[in-house]
Amino acid sequence: MAAGRQSDIPLSRDPSARFLPWIVAFLTYIAALSVAGYLALAQLSVDWNDGLSNAITVEITALEGEEDASINGRVQTTVALLRGYPGVESVEVLSRAKIREFLEPWLGKALDIGALPLPRLIDVRLSGDEDVDVVALNEKLAGSTGARADDHAIWRDRMERFLGSLEWAAIAIVAVVVAAAVIMVAFATRGSLAAHRETIELLHLIGARDDYIARQFQRHAMRLAMIGSVLGALAAMATAFLISQSASGLETGAGLGAETAYLPVVATLALPPISTIVALFTARRTVLKALRRMT
């Protein structure tokens, strides 16, 4: 009886009761996954960036017909020079095996790598306390041993631009999703208003205020949005979990580890309350606007 008091309008039998939760679930799912995806990639890039900005790779190419001994000499000189350079923390010559390992996937088995005169690579770790001027270092190396230093600036730059556009994409997706949700809720509410026109008219004639009527619609929309967005968020979390599970199985996915996963989860958990509130206000606004046009 007390429940009857608040639901004179039989909204729960409207078609919107069936389709709205699914649409909201779908939208929440999309929004959650794009935000989570963006956050995970951003985190990954921070890790990579940290690694890259504290590292320089120095390459020494074999000259035409140069003997192994000669190259090894140049490598040793370069290493010594690097060790003495300000800001350098550690220097490591990559072993032939490691270089091969790196190249094999690119060259495939068709070419006999063993026969190639591979360049020597030196991995230089910086302390990060001082800025290292790569151009000056490069000039110095070129003048002495013909080595070439690469601070991966191009990569980092690309990565940054890539993340920037990803960020925009994520924001755009969330904006589109919110807009779509608002439109769908408004749409469903207007459908319900039309379906229950006579009931609403009667309530008006009995002396019900707009607020009394709007409350029933907003509660209904809120409930549907809540169900939908919780479903969507759960599905998104399940998906994210599955992806991170299978990704951590691969080496490349190491950055998606558990320790960085809390941000996407928080973002996803925030979505149901947000959807619910958006639905509430959308329904309320739609109803009040429509009611004002009635007598």
Binding site: R5, T199, L205, I206, G207, R209, T295
Partner: protein, 250 residues
């Protein structure tokens, strides 16, 4: 209580259903409203319960000019008006009880008050056995009685009943009229649109006759029936020839 001055009313671009309707209902009046089918009885009542605005003319209700009442104050006024609609307008998904309780609940009445009054009134109109029935499972006359109970449950200042006895037999009709008179005695102004001649004849209240879009009164000069207080009077803009109908036994 209610004053119409040169009120005209048309639906959309149709012909004028009411033209130059002028009359006044004093507080505590009890009137029958008669007229041929399609004469505009329901339309006149719609204007009184604020479901439509007149196309022209002035309507005063509860001593306020309708045109000057802001939208936010309409609910308060409507809560003081009880209406029996010609087509009942019950909410099919609510039980007889909840339908009758609606005006109280919309008004924010306490639930124990609702429980007490609604059950009692439903019993009075002979629906004690159908309190929890949904309208689609009620007979025509039972629906009509639920509609009447809903109209009177909140003891309105103004009761407008549109053909409230079209689906019940004369015994019940008389009983319902007694209910309306009881309310009237407690101060409610009553207007009943009806085709039921025998009722009009039996209950000797002033008759408003609608014809040609105009209202004429037919003051019945006979005695007023046992114990009925008559503190109501209606003054009409158009005085027509009032055919006197002989009182008849039911």
């Amino acid at each position: 209580m209610i004053r119409f001055e040169n009120v005209g009313m048309r639906y959309g671009t149709g012909p004028e259903v009411l033209r130059d309707v002028t009359f006044e209902l004093k507080a505590g009046a009890f009137h029958f409203l008669v007229g041929a089918s399609g004469a505009g009885k329901s339309t006149l009542l719609k204007l009184m319960y604020l479901a439509h605005r007149p196309t022209r003319g002035l309507i005063n209700i509860f001593d306020r000019n309708l045109a000057s009442i802001p939208r936010e104050e309409l609910p308060d006024i409507r809560q003081r008006i009880g209406v029996v609609y010609q087509d009942f307008r019950l909410l099919n998904h609510l039980s007889a009880f909840d339908n009758v309780a609606l005006p109280l609940r919309v008004n924010g009445a306490r639930e124990d008050v609702v429980q007490k009054h609604v059950g009692e009134l439903l019993g009075w109109v002979g629906l004690a056995d159908h309190i929890n029935a949904l309208p689609p499972t009620l007979s025509g006359g039972q629906k009509q009685r639920v509609a009447i109970a809903r109209a009177v449950i909140s003891r309105p200042s103004l009761l407008l009943a549109d053909e409230p006895t079209g689906n019940v037999d004369d015994t019940i009709a008389v009983r319902l009229l007694y209910l309306f008179e009881e309310l009237n005695r407690m101060g409610t102004t009553v207007v009943i649109a009806t085709h039921n001649k025998s009722l009009v004849d039996r209950f000797k209240h002033p008759v408003m006759r609608l014809g040609d879009g105009q209202v004429r009164t037919e003051e019945d000069e006979a005695d007023w029936g046992a114990g009925l207080r008559r503190d109501a009077e209606a003054s009409f803009g158009t005085k027509g020839d009032a055919p006197t109908v002989p009182p008849r036994e039911l």
